[in-house]
């Protein structure tokens, strides 16, 4: 770290020895600065995940005092074959929610950010960004509370939809119909995060030099061509990163589904993986089984994270 000309980069033997001493002292400090974090992660990240892997091989139930019997992969086989546990349904609910929220979020935030970026001056952009971003400031619990009231049978949701569709007095069963309930949870997410992802895209758009567009316009490219031939390819790194971030985000959802479930909505359509782990492990005390579910979620997360790392490293654009 010390360049030539730095007071510590001496040449002769005596200085070399002193230099080594300082270098060693600094190495110890450098490592020392990391020790608290490493201890923290050892106890609160690595130990729990190893413990989860270990426990997933045992038939552990908290209430029983005797040491749990070793059952090998039985918990994994159970959650995938026993329909009564409902883990397959959880995987399905998570997949529907994740993709159902992911595609609208990424596509709409991309479209809106490009339109905003290309058509308005920066100060106006800022105003729109702030208005779109405000829902993201609220906590998921508050966001869900507001929307649950809107989706009440007598609430605004029915009234607005009836006004648009000209069907007075119809109850659209927002929270009782399974597909509508799924739509409700997705709606809460879309509302809360659309502004957040637009802001991410705007930042990405800011890295594309304006000269590229000017050159294209001079060559007679249309607005649409500019979008498909310049914006999309040059924005590819941002798009792929935002996509993975959004998928990870959606896969980890808990609060929204938990709130709907607690307010009396049917559990099955919205029993996403994290909610399933919670009910299996905490409510029903089937620790071993819940840990097996956790490991499946962990595996999904590793795959997504590796994809993210690959994207960070290989997809950069040079101008």
């Amino acid at each position: 770290m010390f360049g030539v000309g730095s007071p510590f980069s001496g040449g002769n033997h005596l200085k070399q020895k002193k230099y080594r001493g300082i270098e060693r002292k600094l190495a110890i400090w450098g490592f020392g600065f990391n020790v608290p974090s490493l201890i923290f992660f050892a106890i609160f990240s690595f130990a729990p995940i190893i413990y989860a892997i270990y426990m997933s091989l045992y038939d552990k139930r908290v209430l029983s005092l005797k040491t749990p019997p070793f059952v090998g992969l039985k918990n994994y086989i159970d959650i995938f074959t026993n329909k009564g546990i409902g883990f397959i349904n959880s995987l399905k609910s998570s997949a529907i929610f994740s993709f159902g929220a992911f595609f609208p979020l990424v596509i709409f935030s991309l479209i809106f950010s490009v339109l905003l970026y290309n058509n308005f001056k920066p100060s106006t952009q800022r105003k729109f960004e702030i208005m779109w971003y405000t829902p993201a400031v609220l906590s998921s619990v508050v966001a869900t509370t507001i929307w649950m009231l809107i989706f009440d049978p007598r609430g605004l949701g029915n009234q607005v939809l009836n006004l648009i569709m000209n069907t007075p007095g119809v109850d659209h069963k927002w929270t009782t119909n399974p597909s509508m309930l799924r739509f409700c949870t997705i709606m809460v997410y879309f509302w809360k995060y659309i502004g957040y992802y637009i802001v991410l895209f705007i930042t990405g758009l800011g890295t594309i030099p304006g000269t590229v567009y000017e050159a294209a316009r001079i060559d007679g490219a249309s607005r649409f061509q500019c979008f498909t031939r310049i914006t999309l390819p040059l924005l590819k790194p941002t798009i792929s990163l935002v996509s993975v971030l959004c998928l990870i985000h959606c896969l980890k959802t808990f609060s929204t589904q938990y709130m709907f479930y607690q307010s009396g909505a049917p559990l099955k359509p919205i029993n996403v993986i994290s909610l399933s782990i919670y009910t299996t492990g905490i409510t029903n005390q089937r620790i071993g089984r819940a840990c097996a579910m956790s490991i499946i979620l962990f595996a999904a997360m590793i795959i997504l994270s590796i994809a993210q790392l690959k994207l960070i490293n290989t997809d950069d654009v040079d101008y």
Binding site: F44, Y51, Y133, S139, Q262, S263, I273, I312
Partner: protein, 285 residues
């Protein structure tokens, strides 16, 4: 963008874009306005058909009910305080520990540095949802249940925070550090008096991210806290909405009161909320 010729098609396009933008504003803002209006209404008014946006009569008692709770237990102020205590404690420790780690990784050379960095980064792949059951059991063993410590300790530092600090400090001029060393400053002194004060922008962004995620946290407090006095705001809202005779107006008043700190912070410091976008920061690395 360059000046364009104002053909009718161009004007139609501009109007179309503006309409789209305003429609999205309507979607994002309407539920917020609904929350504010509804917090001044009786449940009857909130669920009236057709809905009228202006509260009549204005129902200030909702806020009394929100703060006092339906059973007059007055736990809400205490729960707000808990949320502040936990969020501030987690934020401070994250700033300090992430600052230390990030500084160590960015500005020092030591054996196994890459390994340490990769080890820390790999914890980002472990979702909290996957380790909540073991964490619950570990916390029971460590007697962290039903305590502030139990709420704070599992979040003392985050890998993302360390990453952000490291990326920022990579560009910190090493000459300053050497000069301070020559002047006889200790390593801790350099970190606390030179590095940290000069990292204000990244610290502000990191502080906001951390504070928000704690303010929003429902899952872990749900597991670790049973005592009503130790509950945080998200838990108060869930238990409030579960109570059978809680009325909707008071519920919206709770929602509004609990969001006010974040909303005020957002409108005052929107630069740090919107400017510090994670993806862009990680791309630059």
């Amino acid at each position: 963008m360059s000046k364009e010729i104002k053909t009718p098609g161009y004007i139609v396009y501009k109007i179309f874009v503006l309409v789209l933008m305003v429609l999205l504003v309507l979607l994002t803002i309407t539920p917020l306005v609904f929350m504010v209006c509804a917090s001044f209404m009786t449940s009857k008014q909130i669920l009236a058909i057709p809905f009228s946006w202006i509260p009549n009569p204005v129902q200030f008692s909702n806020f009394y009910k929100a703060v006092a709770g339906t059973l007059n237990t007055w736990t809400f102020p205490r729960n707000m305080l808990n949320s502040f205590i936990v969020s501030i404690a987690v934020t401070l420790s994250t700033l300090l520990l992430a600052g230390m780690s990030g500084y160590g990784l960015a500005k020092f050379r030591f054996k196994g540095k890459n390994f340490v960095f990769i080890t820390i980064m790999s914890t980002m792949m472990i979702p909290f949802e996957a380790i909540m059951i073991p964490m619950y059991m570990i916390s029971q063993k460590l007697h962290l249940m039903n305590s502030y410590m139990g709420l704070i300790i599992p979040y003392l530092v985050s890998a993302f925070g360390i990453f952000q600090m490291r990326q920022y400090l990579l560009t910190f001029p090493g000459e300053y550090l050497d000069a301070a060393r020559v002047d006889g400053m200790g390593e801790l002194g350099i970190f606390l008096k030179l590095v940290m004060p000069n990292s204000a922008p990244v610290l502000a962004t990191l502080a906001i991210t951390t504070f928000r995620s704690q303010w929003d946290n429902l899952l872990w407090p749900l597991l670790v806290v049973q005592d009503a006095k130790l509950k945080t705001v998200p838990l108060y809202i869930t238990s409030f909405s579960e109570e059978k005779h809680a009325d909707e107006g008071a519920l919206m008043a709770v929602a509004l009161l609990s969001s006010l700190p974040m909303l005020i912070a957002f409108f005052a410091l929107s630069k740090y909320f919107i400017g510090g976008s994670e993806v862009y920061e990680s791309r630059k690395g």
